[in-house]
Amino acid sequence: MNRDRFHPDHPFLYADFFPTVWCAGCGIGTVVHSFIEALKASDITPRETGVVSGMGCSRKISECLKLPSFSVSDGRVVDFSVQYGLEHPTHQVVAFLNNADFLLTGAEDFLQLRNSGHRLTIIYINNFIFNTAGDDGFPMTPYRRKSFDGSADLPFNIPLLASSVGAEYIARWTPLRAGWIKNALMEAFQKKGTAVIEIISPCLVYDSESRRILDAAERMQFYDGRTVIQNFSPLNKLDLREGKKIVLGTFVDSAPGEDKR
């Protein structure tokens, strides 16, 4: 293999990780690619970063990156990121969270961020899936749709929750809009406080809309056809429910020192 056949992101990745463990059409790989592109475009030294991830499919993110990266135990992702950021104040800490890390076991750590203003970028990969075996819902299970079998509650409004915790930058995108994820990450790296970016990513294994398994590209376009971009729309209108379009965009972008709570 000659030198020309290396991917431009080759210095950031372990070569023996490929082919990746994620399913064909999963959004996580695109998020990782956008993160590396944002890291290259902004003036951050790769040594001065910290990538933290929890459990499940998103655990593999910290295993594939040639950066200071940590796979921590379930639910301690935000806690560990805050401690790492306190220990290394110049480092840019990025936490990749999945549903369980964010809203179940790690929820109290996220709520502890209130008023503390730690410099931390949270990428929340939301695929509406929590339970792979049973029939109980969880806070992000869509209304009358099922992670496997049944939730009668409305899912959480993540941008409103992040705003009440005091995030300085809140955005929501789908993986097909990878350039926007890159731009959002570059803006989030500039912030002195917490930034929360929610990625609505398809999960091919557990199909939450219907029981049909579409192929990967159709699945991405399925999500993308049900979204609409409305920047700075009111935060209380952003919940996900049936028959309503998913609103994407940047919702909160506050200047340093400005209090938008």
């Binding site: 020309d4 056949r5 991917h7 431009p8 992101d9 990745l13 490929f18 082919p19 990746t20 994620w22 399913c23 064909a24 059409g25 999963c26 959004g27 996580i28 790989g29 695109t30 990782v32 690619h33 956008s34 592109e37 993986p175 097909l176 990878a178 350039g179 890159k182 192929d215 990967a216 590209a217 991405m220 376009q221």
Partner: protein, 75 residues
């Protein structure tokens, strides 16, 4: 000036997102499969590529990238 679309076929999982996002229909799915049994994309119309980089950006497996090369001057 030539456009080179590089595809690492051993990394590809055949999801077809690069083919779906390409507006100029440069790529198509090959009839062949790689070692793992996935059909990978091949370049069909290299000359109509606009170097937008969308296929590189959305690829979850870091398998495709586009680069532009200056041609060597003819002697």
């Amino acid at each position: 000036m030539t456009i080179r679309i590089e595809i690492l076929k051993e990394r590809c999982k055949g999801c077809g997102i690069c083919i779906a996002v390409c507006q100029m229909e440069v790529l198509r799915l090959s009839g062949d499969t790689n070692e793992q049994g996935y059909a990978y994309p091949v370049v069909e119309k290299n000359e109509s590529c606009l170097i937008c980089g969308l296929c590189e950006m959305v690829c979850p497996d870091f398998a495709i990238w586009v680069r532009q090369e200056e041609e060597e001057a003819m002697p």
